[in-house]
């Protein structure tokens, strides 16, 4: 038998509690952004994006090769991981009702729980040892292994969201099942899948551990997939653990560049989800 006044009081209290919760949850994000921007912005100029790293004490220089390397390695990872992950997801959604589906789903879950450094060791054993050198390819393989399970599960969820009525509509028009899966079901889920792909790419771009002993690092420009390749994350790691203030500053700036890169990818994902790739409204 609460009166109007007590109901209002409860409502106001709960609103404040919720708002406080939101602020607490956003605090880490805000502090990370603030720290990286305030420390990284100083060292940021055009040269930083296009120049090679310089030795300690030498002014100028940049992380151009690491930016390129990150894009290169993530590109290789996407070329391997996206078709596998999306393909597995479509299979799970369309044909994953039986035992095979359960096994794949369980495997994907286990795989997505494997620490990324372990995935790096596996890629080292598989690719680096057999090729006898560190390479962008090895880094790409390691990142691809990280992308596949999460991509498979999110694709599965997105494909499942496509109404069964659309499948039936297509089949009833005499469209074979495989073409229905590709051109109706997958097409309808495409906006969501693009978002999932870009988010997993953004996540892969931020990985350091799997790259440490797969793509290693490189002080120079590298265009070859079978050579050690610089990446932003490993470069940040190397700069950050060094004893030099000069390099520490560069680590902050490189971190800001990485943050920008990942931010752009996430924004692109949101944009694509709403654009013509999504369902028309």
């Amino acid at each position: 038998m609460s009166t109007r006044a007590t109901r209002r009081a409860v409502n106001a209290t709960m609103t404040v509690v919720c708002a406080l919760g939101l602020i607490v949850a956003l605090m880490p994000l805000a502090s990370v952004l603030w720290l990286v921007i305030s420390n990284g912005l100083r060292g940021l100029n055009l040269d930083f994006f296009v120049q090679l790293p310089t030795p300690v004490g030498e002014a100028g220089g940049g992380v151009g090769n690491a930016i390129l390397g990150s894009l290169y390695i993530v590109g290789i990872a996407s070329a391997i991981g996206v078709p596998l992950g999306v393909g597995a997801g479509v299979y799970l959604a369309e044909r994953g009702g039986g035992r095979a589906g359960d096994v794949i789903r369980f495997t994907a879950e286990v795989l997505s729980g494997v620490p990324s450094i372990i995935v790096g060791i596996v890629a080292y054993g598989l690719v680096v040892v057999s090729m006898r050198r560190f390479s962008a390819l090895a880094g790409g393989v390691a990142l691809a292994v990280l992308m596949v399970p999460t991509l498979a599960r999110s694709t599965e969820e997105l494909v499942r969201l496509v109404p069964g009525a659309l499948r039936e509509a297509s089949l009833a028009l005499g469209v074979p099942e495989w073409r229905t899966s590709l051109r109706v079901v997958l097409r309808t889920a495409l906006g969501g899948i693009m978002t999932a792909v870009l988010l997993s790419v953004a996540r892969a771009a931020g990985e350091t551990a799997p790259l440490l002993f797969t793509s290693l690092n490189n002080q120079y420009w590298n265009w070859r997939a079978d050579q050690p390749t610089a990446s932003l994350t490993v470069q940040i790691f190397n700069y950050a653990v060094s004893p030099y203030q000069d390099w520490h500053d560069k680590a902050w700036s490189a971190a800001l560049v990485l943050l920008l890169l990942v931010g752009i990818l996430s924004l692109l994902a949101r944009f694509l989800a709403r654009s013509r790739f999504g369902a028309q409204r």
Partner: protein, 254 residues
């Protein structure tokens, strides 16, 4: 409609199950060409399962199976060499709820059956013909490239009929096509059924007995998976042989 002509669709002792439910029990009937068969009966009596057997959509449901024979133009649907994909191009289907493809424009929806199957040709012309047949052309001709979801429910359903007509079926199965529509849209679809009867054979499932009486030549009454009675529509509604049919059409149950 000559008596000697072979029926377009013949069903012999059809039984169907899904997930252990015996949905159809020994149904036999035939549909002459260029006629409309209406299927009536209370919910869960197997009406939908029956039509879904005729274009082999039933067997796509996990756990579904069936026995008996269905013949279209005298040829068994499950005979060796009959491809369900080809069959579904000859036996079209319109569903209870309009299901246009949300990612496609109105035009692309109408010709989806051609496009998805890689059939070339003058799609715009074919689309116009189907849309005119479905009595939708005048309402959409100025916005063929807008999303199909911008249409009203009744227009979407006629769009789905146009889409089914585009691939040139000989038999059209309609599973309660007007159950979600207002009376005006329903009247348009009934008008359409009467016109389409000139070109093809129609099997329509309906909950609406007035609708069955208005559009069909023969009516079949299903109850608990059994075909209780099948005869000329007028006879079913005025002088049924079975007492259960009479109870149902006079509204005593169901």
């Amino acid at each position: 409609m000559t008596a000697a002509a072979r029926p377009k669709v013949e069903v012999h002792d059809l039984n169907a199950w899904f997930r252990g439910v015996h949905a159809l029990r020994g149904v036999s009937l035939s549909v002459p060409g260029n006629t409309v068969l209406a299927i009536i009966g209370p919910s869960g009596c197997g009406k939908s399962t029956f039509v879904r057997c005729i274009n082999r959509m039933h067997e796509l449901v996990p756990g579904a199976h069936q026995s008996g024979h269905i013949l279209v133009d005298g040829k068994d649907l499950h005979a060796r060499g009959v491809d369900p994909v080809d069959l579904r191009r000859r036996v079209g289907m319109v569903f209870q709820r309009a299901n246009p493809f949300p990612t496609m424009s109105i035009l692309d929806n109408v010709v989806a059956g051609l496009k998805l199957n890689g059939v070339r040709g003058n799609h715009a012309e074919i689309a116009e013909k189907s849309l005119r047949q479905a009595a939708l052309w005048d309402e959409v001709k100025d916005r063929l490239h807008t999303s199909a979801l911008s249409l009203s429910g009744g227009q979407q359903q006629r769009l789905c009929i146009a889409r089914a007509l585009t691939i040139g079926p000989e038999v059209l199965l309609m599973d309660e096509p007007a159950s979600a529509l207002d009376p005006i849209a329903t009247a348009k679809i009934e008008e359409l059924i009467r016109e389409l009867r000139e070109q093809l054979t129609i099997v329509i499932v309906t909950h609406n007995m007035q609708q069955a009486a208005r559009v069909s030549d023969t009516t079949a009454f299903f109850y608990l998976g059994e075909l209780v009675e099948h005869g000329p529509t007028e006879q079913i509604f005025t002088n049924p042989k079975e007492s259960r049919t009479e109870d149902y059409v006079t509204g005593k149950f169901g």
